[in-house]
């Protein structure tokens, strides 16, 4: 079960790190659900026609990234309302993926990504099977989270991103191109959301159906807040949620109705958000100051 929890948490982790970058730069991307969906369907389709799962993964990232550029352009250059723009993109993403995916429903995947067994380490009792017997993308996702942390908090680029999100005016004055940084961050968010979607259709299920993403994109938005916009905390948050999703299957034999169990992750999201919004916590680890505010260079 813990093994499955990690598998479940991996797409959440990937997409959350991406969303962290977008929001750290000041742009709220509510289109994650749509982008994950596009990623899932593109990954499935490409791996079906090429027989290569990795090509599918890359194509998925590219497709979702392309979609995120639309949100970026609307939110950054056209200063559109970020909430509504994101929602529109989710509709678009879900619609396009539903359309493209019609041919794929019910078909077995062309190629999947197999798990690997890390020698020696996977022999460790109990932990070995859980931690060291996963597919490469799981390890990649953890690596991405660590690199994401490093870049965001230990490099100049990360500092620039964070200043665009906290105080774009100050960033602009010190020579940072706010538009470019924000576009980059949103694009990164899209790429990772695409990866997350690819993981869903190529590893997690693996197959394609309409509504494969099942609201995970929204959970990602929540996870971004739980992780306090820190990629390392995202790891813990994502796997915790993986556990929450796997739990119902374990509790079902006890006689609780599946529908009721399915509410578990959603209720926990709300409760966790409430618990974490206590004043003391909020003061220490708040959202980026300029989140959702389009940047306009004021005329003097």
């Amino acid at each position: 079960m813990l093994h499955r929890a990690i598998v479940y948490g991996t797409p959440l982790l990937l997409a959350t790190v991406g969303e962290i970058y977008a929001e750290r730069s000041g742009v709220l991307n509510l289109g994650v659900e749509g982008m994950m969906s596009i990623g899932a369907v593109v990954a499935f389709g490409v791996s079906l026609s090429t027989g290569n799962a990795w090509l599918g993964v890359m194509a998925a990232a590219a497709a979702a990234g392309a979609l995120s550029l639309v949100h970026g352009f609307a939110s950054i250059n056209l200063r559109a309302n970020q909430v509504v723009s994101g929602l529109a993109l989710t509709m678009l993403g879900l619609g396009i993926s539903g359309l493209l995916g019609k041919a794929y429903v019910g078909r077995p995947p062309g190629a999947t990504i197999k798990g690997v067994e890390i020698p020696f380490l996977s022999e460790v009792p109990f932990l070995g099977k859980i931690l060291f017997n996963q597919d490469p993308l799981v390890y990649a996702s953890i690596a991405i989270a660590i690199v994401g942390w490093f870049v965001l908090f230990r490099t100049r680029l990360g500092l620039n991103i964070r200043s665009c999100g906290e105080n774009p005016g100050a960033a602009d004055v010190s020579g940072i191109s706010v538009y470019r940084i924000r576009h980059l961050s949103v694009f990164l968010g899209g790429l990772l959301a695409g990866l997350a979607g690819a993981y869903l259709s190529l590893v997690y299920v693996p197959s394609w159906t309409q509504g494969l993403t099942g609201g995970r994109g929204w959970i990602v938005i929540g996870l971004t807040i739980f992780a306090f916009w820190k990629p390392l905390r995202a790891i813990a948050a994502a796997y915790l949620f993986g556990l929450l999703f796997v739990l119902p299957y374990r509790l079902q034999p006890l006689g609780v109705h599946t529908s009721l169990l399915q509410t578990l992750p959603y209720i926990v999201t709300v409760i966790a958000l409430v618990v974490l919004s206590r004043e003391s916590i909020r003061k220490r680890m708040a959202a980026p100051g300029a989140l959702t505010t389009p940047y306009v260079r004021e005329e003097i």
Binding site: L30, V70, A74, N77, L78, R79, A80, N81, V83, V84, S85, L87, A88, L89, T90, M91, L92, G93, L94, G95, I96, S97, G98, L99, K102, Q210, G215, W218, I221, G222, I225, H257, S259, L260, Q262, T263, Y266, I267, T269, V270, L273, V274, S277, R278, R282, E299
Partner: protein
């Protein structure tokens, strides 16, 4: 934005406000959305002309189309008006879908429990309880937002899933109809718990009258009442609202009651009127709560405008059903809607800014 070193495209604040001409922007946004959708149709191998003809004939161009349009417009109108109020106060209620179901569940509860009661007891109770349940489902996230600054997009969204699962559980389990041969429906409501249809249609007359009345009422609330004023100020400038002594919590509570309550009533209308029973949530409200976001935005958050925009959007939905029979996949309508919403939100900037193309390099 610079293009090379020769030209610079920038946005400049308009000197004169657009006023009434602003509606041109809305119309052009929708038209661009339609054009893009047409482009999209040709990409998937469907002739756009064929698709549009089908949409128009299937919806606005026939009596049966109009009946469906009005039927679907009712919940859209009610939710849309509520959302217009919520969004004005910057309360992003994405949970209208769940609030509809909450209302539907409430009405079903009353209908199934009080089967012996007469119509004049049943219907008001159903509507009343539906309103309360819908409002409650919105009040929770609203208070969390007002008191604890918990992001309302997530909470309203999450509560959607919760209530949908709950309703599914009820329909599969305790409320499963004994007369429904194992189908996931509750028993059909007794006649006294149903809203009569207009002759020959599936349009419940009661909600058909209520919906535009709500819109007018909310418009009056927004423009003529103190509460409406407070909602608007809270949205435009929360700090100013606070300095002026307006209670953020009270304003949000009112928004939640209106927005959630109206959605709840829409839900009651669907189960008591259209369906006559509770079935799986996807059948009761197929995305009305989300589509209402487009309705509200298209109407520029004006409750009176919602009357028109709900009919327009309903027409698109009905047109979407029409194309489906012509071989075009149903998901196309989602794309259509998404495109229109995207165009609407992307062209907002042109209300206050115009494009200026400067020649030459920087001075």
């Amino acid at each position: 934005m610079r293009i090379g070193s020769l030209a610079e495209i920038r946005f400049e604040r308009r000197r004169k406000s657009l006023g009434r001409k602003g509606i041109l922007i809305t119309v052009s946004a929708v038209l661009i959305g339609i054009l893009l959708a047409g482009l999209f149709f040709s990409l998937i191998g469907v002739s756009p002309v064929f698709a549009y003809k089908r949409i128009l004939i299937g919806s606005f161009g026939s009596m049966s189309g109009w009946r469906e349009i009005l039927r679907k417009a009712i919940p859209l109108m009610m939710c849309g008006a509520g959302l217009a109020i919520a969004f004005r106060g910057l309360f992003w209620n994405i949970g209208a879908e769940g609030q509809i179901i909450a209302g539907a569940v409430a009405a079903t509860w009353v209908a199934l429990s009080l089967e012996q009661a007469p119509s004049w007891v049943l219907l008001p109770s159903m509507f009343g309880l539906g309103f309360l349940f819908g409002a409650a489902w919105c009040i929770i996230p609203a208070l969390l937002w007002a008191k604890l600054k918990v992001n309302e997009v997530i909470t309203t969204l999450m509560l959607n899933y919760v209530v949908i699962s709950l309703a599914t559980f009820l329909v599969d389990g305790p409320w499963k109809g004994s007369s429904q041969y194992g189908y996931p429906y509750t028993d059909t409501f007794v006649d006294s718990a149903r809203i009569p249809f207009i002759q020959g249609t599936r349009i419940p007359f009661l909600t058909l009258i209520l919906a535009p009345l709500f819109c007018v009422g909310l418009y009056l609330l927004l423009t003529r009442s103190r509460a409406g004023y407070e909602i608007k100020v809270t949205g435009y400038n929360p700090k100013a609202a606070r300095y002026a002594g307006m209670s953020f919590t009270k304003t949000l509570f009112l928004i939640a009651v209106i927005s959630g309550g109206l959605a709840g009533i829409a839900g009651v209308g669907e189960v008591a009127g259209v369906h006559g029973k509770l079935s799986y949530p996807e059948d009761i409200s197929s995305g009305y709560g989300f589509t209402a976001i487009i309705v509200a935005w298209l109407a520029r958050l004006n409750p009176l405008g919602v009357v028109v925009s709900s009919i327009f959007v309903s027409g698109l939905l009905v047109g979407g059903d029409a194309i489906r029979t012509g071989g075009v996949p149903a998901a196309s309508i989602d794309i259509f809607m998404g495109l229109i919403l995207l165009m609407l939100v992307s062209t907002e900037i042109f209300r206050s800014y115009e494009i200026k193309i400067g020649g030459g390099g920087a001075s």
